[in-house]
Amino acid sequence: MIRKEAMKVVVNEIKNEIIVAANGFISRDLFNVYDKESNFYMIGSMGLASSIGLGVAIKNPKKQIFVFDGDGNILMNFGSLVTIGSIRPKNLIHIVFDNSRHASTGGQPTNSKFIQIEKIAEKCNYSSIFRVQNKQEIIKIMKKIKTISGPIMILIKINHGGKIGDRIENHPTKIKEYFMKNLEET
């Protein structure tokens, strides 16, 4: 299962919820799979999607906030797990698409294959952690998390590869504008 396939399954389960997506192919795949106003595409500042998601989650406690992260991204900002696990927002669901690669820079390896990122999240006080690797497991877990409190991490082990998605067409100020408008109105 490649990232885009896994993302389609996840997005189909969460429909129109708020998503903060990491830079690189994570944002590009999301844009191509299901572009919507409640997606925040973080096109630069690698590592910070989970921090932005934390800020949104703290300020919108009645909404579920999803973070679409990558292994390279979270490895750059592991401290984020500490802060999320200390503040413990119940409405934060942190999904890591882990292919053990820096996909958008040419598929160079990350060190995520030697460790278990979700176990670190568990030690950092996340309420629940899951590791899944096929579509059936994703669907099962996505249904299960509807009944439990966060912060939750779902690590989806994926294969490297697939066609490169188109770049995000919207200017960052438009991405922001749509996202803010959606947050306010829903």
């Binding site: 096109i43 910070l48 921090s51 934390l54 800020g55 300020k59 984020s80 996202f179 803010m180």
Partner: protein, 162 residues
């Protein structure tokens, strides 16, 4: 001497709609941070970039935020400022402690202290040095920058060596 105007800065910004104070502690900003901790309004992050990310998430939720840091952390944050804060036009206030302002400050602060004004200028990040006599005007200026959707920096000089 750390001056008391720092607690005025905190209280004034809080009163004027800044709801979130996130950052990494700095001894130059001790009084400011102490005031915030007393009022339970401070979030301490692990790194400065992380603090900026959290503040951006809050700002996207229409909640005004300030990020505090030492200038060492400001140097850490350059890419986050250009590729997130400025790229998306996020109106944040940075509060930066200016280590290396005095020529006899500790050696690790000297270089960054020297290049800090030029770095701010090159970034195009508008800034003001906050002092005991201008703190209110500086705060009003910063709030006004944010109203124009601009991020800006308030700088506090390290005027003592311990």
């Amino acid at each position: 001497m750390i001056k008391n105007f720092q607690s005025n800065v905190f209280n004034f910004l809080l009163k004027n709609g800044v709801e979130n104070f996130i950052g990494v502690p700095d001894s130059t900003l001790k009084k400011f941070i102490h005031e915030g901790l007393t009022k339970k309004k401070i979030i301490i992050s692990t790194r400065e970039e992380e603090a900026i990310g959290i503040a951006v998430g809050m700002s996207l939720s229409k909640s005004k935020s300030l990020v505090f840091m030492q200038n060492a952390g400001f140097a850490n944050s350059l890419s986050t400022i250009t590729s997130l804060v400025q790229l998306y036009h996020i109106p944040l206030i940075f509060l930066i402690g200016w280590r290396g302002y005095l020529s006899n400050d500790a050696p690790e602060h000297k270089k960054i202290g020297k290049i800090q004004p030029q770095l701010l200028k090159n970034l195009g990040l508008n800034s003001k040095i906050v002092t005991e006599s201008n703190w209110k005007d500086s705060c009003l200026w910063a709030l006004n920058q944010n109203k124009k959707n601009l991020a800006c920096a308030l700088i506090i000089k390290r005027e003592f060596v311990d």
